[in-house]
């Protein structure tokens, strides 16, 4: 039996105090297998030990929430017996090491989280953060990640309908790949992971187990240095074909009533799935590894328990239903094996070649796992309104902004994703939120992912609020009622007090915004240690939001649709240039305060706009976000090539008015009579509103004098991404 040396303990990412705790809990020295199990279950990735204490502060309930955080994904009631099930998850480190497979397996993993609960996935989103465009690695990473996401999602036949792409030097050595999956189920047919009861068969389904990604879970919790690019664990390779079969087979099995509990094998595969199922069910689990379908010869117990081979599930069946289940999986040509049984011992017992290689109390892996209140050091938020050159020509700046990396069209990305398969995508990428119909109904789900990392860097709390507010606003802008969010908290090393502060403040900001906007958090994921050589990423709490349109025919889109519509802005335009894209791209400075978020106003303005859309009074809406008012208007013009002639409302300074990033704003275009009514109603409700001009023509004209062809703007807007990627050595394909 292997002697457990301090080196071995350290290699497993366990601190001395953690190991001392293990000895206490076990009452003896752990076996190597047990040490491996502890190392993954107590890793940041599985135990949330740095964030758990703080996450408790998030609001997680509402009348429509059927399942909050704690299961594989959250569940909300969308009426008529339908449930929406969704979750977002990161695959940051694997995607940096091997962009195609890292991103692909990230997509596969989040899909399993959703269909393991009984849902058929109906939409995918992806929030991506890359290093600066000029960094030598960026193109290759963009190419690999995008084709990996497409390669997996397209094969699954689930439309990838939206997301985000940002570029910033802080991601040069640590990109972020966050994937979100949304699925549909019937409220009465939702499956959970609690392995209740003793004497029930534990079955293994899906692909065989190989030596894939062993210690991936611990890797995802360890800070990167250039060396670890060498001493990396074996990379997992995705098999979307097998996943598609697994999806159909699971849904077929779920149509029976043979399942007691089911759970995907994600990070730490067999270990975390069995431990979590036993823990939630208050039962014990006994596994016989000799029964595990194996891809490689003479795998050790340690390797099997820690393997992260993809496309696998663990289920607990009602006794006697094994044959029925096996028949389904054989039909789909998948592996199926009874590998264990539930017990009443609350212990995880692992046998291999007749010997017991692990025997540990399951609570030691869950409740007893460490929870830290790590020290944090508050840093004053960036403040002040930066100076700017008031003589710059707004139209020239607009053209430059639209052709800049963070604002340019993402068409190059989303045209590589099948975003129309399943024939229910009623709003494709390019708008504020994706809209996907509930098959065979007039209902639809609106989906968005948002966060503005530069705001979070300037002010972690206000920036996190803004992420939630923008997600809520994007759903509102298409006419949906925002219902719930899933978050993906990407931060640096929590053992650094200034980073821990970003996390604590970020959670506070998300909590405040979700409370104020009635927008509960029903699931999420934390990805910490996103640093390279000690340099942290911008704090990036990505928010995935889902809303409901009861009548999809009333959906609004950003495109100007008629000549002569009045262009109106709802919400206060104070000219906040701090941390704006304008300041960074045109003045070359990243400074000033992040735009403050007034949650009460945010709600008031959004409810007003949503009311107009749901009443069928407006069909043309765009929220104002990155780039400010003029960028929003230009996007509305470019969408169908209908121009507009607009001017300042009153006589404020032009630059801050057109490019400031004040929150809580929407641009609406409506026929004259309707527009007049809207303006009156807004005024009556004390909602700031201003008429900016009229749609029409093929040019965007400022103050009757300063004009640019919409087609010219579009050329720059559509041109940046393809031109940038044309410099790629060779497209990454599978």
């Amino acid at each position: 039996m292997t002697k457990i040396t301090p080196e071995l303990v350290r290699e497993h990412g366990l601190s001395d105090s953690e190991y001392a705790r293990i000895l206490e809990l076990m009452g003896r020295e752990p076996t190597l297998v047990e040490l491996g199990i502890f190392s993954v279950m107590w890793s940041e990735h599985c135990s949330y030990k740095s964030t758990r204490f703080h996450l408790r502060r998030l609001p997680t309930s509402a009348p429509w929430v059927l399942q909050g955080p704690g299961e594989n994904a959250g569940v909300i009631d969308i009426g008529d017996g339908d449930a929406a099930i969704f979750k977002m998850e990161s695959h940051n480190h694997p995607s940096f090491i091997e962009p195609y497979q890292g991103a692909a397996t990230g997509v596969g993993g989040i899909m399993r989280d959703v269909f393991t609960m009984g849902a058929r996935p109906i939409a995918m989103m992806n929030a991506l953060r890359f290093g600066e465009p000029s960094h030598p690695k960026t193109r290759h990473l963009v190419s690999g990640v995008v084709s990996g996401i497409g390669g997996y999602g397209n094969c699954m036949g689930v439309p990838t309908v939206g997301g985000e792409v940002n570029f910033h030097r802080s991601y040069n050595g640590n990109i972020l790949v966050n994937a979100m999956c949304v699925g549909l189920a019937r409220t009465g047919k939702i499956f959970k992971s609690a392995a209740k009861g003793a004497g029930n068969p534990v079955v293994y389904i899906g692909s065989k187990t190989g030596r894939d990604g062993i210690h991936g879970a611990t890797m995802a919790s360890a800070e990167f240095d250039d060396a670890s690019e060498e001493k990396r664990p074996t990379v997992q390779v995705g098999d979307p074909f097998t996943e598609k079969l697994l999806l159909e087979a699971c849904l077929e099995l779920m149509a029976t009533d043979a399942i007691i509990a089911i759970q995907d094998m994600g990070a730490a595969g067999l270990t975390s799935s069995s431990a979590e199922m036993g823990d939630k069910g208050g039962s014990g689990i006994e596994l016989d590894l000799d029964k595990v379908p194996q891809r490689e010869a003479d795998m050790t117990a340690y390797e099997m328990m820690l393997s992260e081979s993809q496309e696998r599930m663990l289920a607990v069946l009602k006794p006697g239903r094994e044959a029925e289940a096996e028949a389904i999986f054989r039909k789909w040509e998948l592996d199926f094996a009874v590998i264990g049984i539930t017990t009443d011992t609350k212990r995880l017992v692992v046998k291999h070649k007749g010997a017991v290689v692990a025997d540990m109390p399951i609570t030691a892996l869950s409740d007893e796992a460490p929870v830290y209140q790590r020290p944090y050091r508050e840093r004053a938020a960036a403040a002040g309104q930066p100076l700017y050159d008031g003589l710059k020509n707004p139209i020239a700046s607009l053209a430059a902004l639209l052709a800049s990396p963070d604002l340019a069209s993402r068409r190059w990305v989303w045209e590589q994703y099948d975003h129309t398969v399943m024939a229910d995508t009623v709003q494709v990428p390019g708008g504020d939120a994706a809209v996907v119909r509930v098959h065979g109904t007039q209902k639809a789900l609106a989906i968005t992912t948002d966060v503005t990392p530069r705001y979070c860097a300037a002010d972690p709390c206000e920036g996190a609020k803004q992420a939630v507010a923008e997600a809520w606003r994007n759903l509102t802008a298409v006419g949906a009622t925002p219902l719930a969010v899933t978050d993906n908290l990407n931060y640096g090393n929590p053992q650094k007090p200034e980073i821990m502060w970003q996390i604590v403040a970020g959670v506070d900001g998300i909590g405040a915004a979700c409370r104020a906007l009635d927008f509960p958090v029903i699931g999420g994921n934390c990805s910490l240690y996103n640093e390279t050589n000690g340099e942290g990423i911008l704090p990036t709490p990505a928010i995935g939001g889902v809303g409901l349109l009861k009548d999809v025919s009333k959906m609004a889109t950003i495109a100007f649709k008629r000549e002569g519509d009045v262009v109106i802005v709802i919400g206060e335009t104070g000219g906040h240039l701090g941390q704006s894209v304008y300041l960074r791209e045109i003045e070359g400075r990243e400074e000033g305060a992040a735009p403050p978020v007034d949650l009460a106003r945010e709600k008031k303005h959004g409810d007003f706009v949503r009311g107009l859309i749901q009443a069928g009074r407006v069909d043309t809406v765009h929220d104002v976000s990155d780039g400010g008012l003029l960028v929003a208007i230009a996007e509305m013009a470019m969408a169908r090539g209908i121009g507009a002639s607009i001017g300042l409302a009153g006589l404020p300074e032009a630059i801050p008015f057109w490019f400031g990033e004040d929150q809580g704003r929407y641009v609406i275009a409506a026929p004259f009579a309707e527009a007049e009514r809207i303006v009156e109603e807004a005024r009556a409700a004390y909602i700031p509103v201003a008429e900016l001009g009229r749609t029409g023509g093929t040019a965007l004209t400022l103050d009757d004098s300063n004009s640019v062809a919409v087609s010219a703007l579009k050329q720059g807007f559509e041109g940046w991404f393809p031109t940038f990627m044309a410099g790629e050595e060779i497209p990454v394909t599978n």
Binding site: S207, R232, V235, V237, D239, Q310, I730
Partner: protein, 79 residues
């Protein structure tokens, strides 16, 4: 001079394509087929005439571009 480069997955790395091909061949009645692995072959024409020099060049090409050395290995064959 002509060269042929074989790029195959490292041992132990899952090969979904090979797995599916093997499965299909068995299904077609080729029962004697065991493990199947699929890789790439890249045929190059080189201006270079010195074999040694060519080998070093191709090795560099593999490391830089042709092989994804995270999961793939390569063999070089000069003809």
């Amino acid at each position: 001079m002509k060269a042929r480069v074989f790029i195959t997955l490292k041992n132990g790395v899952l090969d979904p394509q090979g797995k599916a091909i093997g499965h299909a061949l068995n299904g077609l009645g080729f029962g004697s087929v065991g493990e199947v692995r699929q890789g790439k072959v890249i045929d190059l024409e080189l201006g270079e005439t010195d074999a040694e020099k060519a080998k070093t060049d191709i090795k560099a090409m593999c490391e830089k571009l042709l092989a994804n050395t995270v999961i793939e290995k390569y063999e070089i064959e000069l003809k």
